[in-house]
């Protein structure tokens, strides 16, 4: 990566009791979709929260668009759309009202994208957020973040609990956000546990396991690597258990 990074983390650490996150070193260049992949409890939401200054790191340095918290908070946040795992304060508001409310803070608000994303799942514009199903709430939260029309969108498990149809809608929304020719390079960072999602939409993949970041990989290079692994040895099968002739014929 050679361009000026949108996100830069240097030796960032945070701990809760026995759980330790970091030290995390990560640089994300504009123009890419980056998936943060890891199991539940790996620290994905903590990482997202730190990027939004909702959680302060114990040590280390976080830079967004060249600015830092708390000095540049307003300037930074105007350029970020964020979909938390569980938004608070939305319960009594309808999709229509939420759209109107959020759009006021963002000059780049994309009403058409917002409406398309909601229409895709036949969402009632006047139903209250609190009365929607968990999946629909998630869908709405992601739609809000994508439609704020900023330069960077952070999505915390945007499709967890969604059915496959709704999931494709959100994935389509991400790529439509990235491919809007009216804008220059935009960036999406999303946390996920679903590998299929990574395969479909990500450019780069960062693995987060037990609070440790296992590097940033090009997705295509990674998939090529998997291919070799799968052909060489079937998952869950060790060579001594299988007659060698059979193992050889299975190679391609």
């Amino acid at each position: 990566m050679t361009q000026r990074p949108v996100i830069s983390l240097r030796d960032v650490r945070k701990s809760y009791g026995a759980f330790e996150l970091g030290p995390i070193n990560l640089e994300i260049e504009p123009g890419y979709i980056v998936a943060i992949v890891g199991p539940r409890g790996a620290g994905k939401s903590t990482l997202m929260g730190m990027l939004m200054n909702l959680i302060r790191p114990a040590s280390g340095e976080i830079t967004l668009f060249g600015g830092v918290y708390p000095e540049d908070e307003v300037a930074i946040k105007q350029r970020i759309g964020y979909a938390p795992e569980r938004p608070s304060g939305y319960d009594d508001l309808s999709p229509r009202v939420l759209g109107k409310f959020v759009s006021r803070f963002y000059p780049g608000w994309d009403q058409r994208l917002y409406e398309d994303l909601l229409a895709g799942v036949a969402m009632e514009p006047d139903e209250k957020f609190g009365e929607l199903s968990a999946g629909t709430q998630r869908h709405l939260t992601s739609a809000l973040a994508l439609a704020t029309g900023p330069e960077l969108v952070l999505l915390d498990e945007p499709t967890a609990g969604l059915d496959s149809f709704a999931r494709r809608q959100i994935q389509g929304g991400i790529s439509r956000f990235m491919d809007d020719e009216r804008y220059g390079d935009r960036t999406v960072v999303f946390a996920t546990r679903v590998m299929d999602e990574v395969r479909r939409v990500a450019d780069y993949v960062a693995f987060l396991v037990d609070g440790r970041l296992l590097g940033l990989f090009e997705k295509d290079a990674l998939l090529d690597g998997w291919k070799v692994f799968w052909l060489d040895r079937e998952p869950g099968v060790t060579f001594p258990e299988r007659s060698s002739s059979k193992a050889t014929t299975r190679r391609v």
């Binding site: 123009g31 890419y32 979709i33 398309d116 895709g120 494709r168 809608q169 994935q171 389509g172 790529s175 439509r176 990235m178 491919d179 020719e181 395969r199 479909r200 990500a202 450019d203 780069y204 090009e218 997705k219 295509d220 090529d224 291919k227 391609v252």
Partner: protein, 145 residues
């Protein structure tokens, strides 16, 4: 494949990636596009998909599509202009001829070196070539009847 739940505005090209192909994905994209362009199936000025749209269609990353477009741009086959997307370049006729000739020459050199490795003399190689030409000739005339 990506769901087309909203109309994709851009153009599409019939490229496919094969997992069996030992070439890296960007090479596969490159050579298919190059063939379309040099064969005249994609005319100069034809708009190509954005790197994101193509990546979407092929379920690969934009790093791959960007790399393929960059190589083709360096070869002078396509042009990218800020805000106007990527189009097939105007390629001079002599360059098209030269490129077609290159492909044929490469195939012949390969054939010659295989023949050399198998211990063929120059005479024998010429004979093989003549036979191939003859076969091609009879195939063509046979195909017409």
């Amino acid at each position: 494949m990506s769901e087309k739940w909203y109309p994709r505005r851009g153009p599409r090209v019939p490229i496919s990636l094969s997992m069996e192909d030992p070439q890296p994905m960007y090479r596969q994209i490159e050579s298919q596009l190059r063939d379309f362009i040099l064969a005249g199936q994609l005319k100069p000025g034809t708009k190509l998909p954005t790197i994101r749209a193509l990546a979407d269609d092929l379920s690969c990353s934009v790093i791959t599509t960007k790399r393929a477009y960059q190589d083709l741009e360096n070869e002078g086959l396509i042009l990218t202009r800020q805000g106007r997307g990527t189009v097939v370049a105007q390629i001079p006729e002599e360059k098209m001829d030269a490129r077609r000739r290159e492909a044929v020459e490469a195939a012949f050199s390969e054939a010659v070196s295989i023949g050399r490795r198998a211990g063929f003399t120059e005479e024998e190689l010429r004979e093989v070539l003549n036979q191939a030409l003859q076969r091609d000739h009879t195939d063509v005339s046979g195909g017409i009847s």
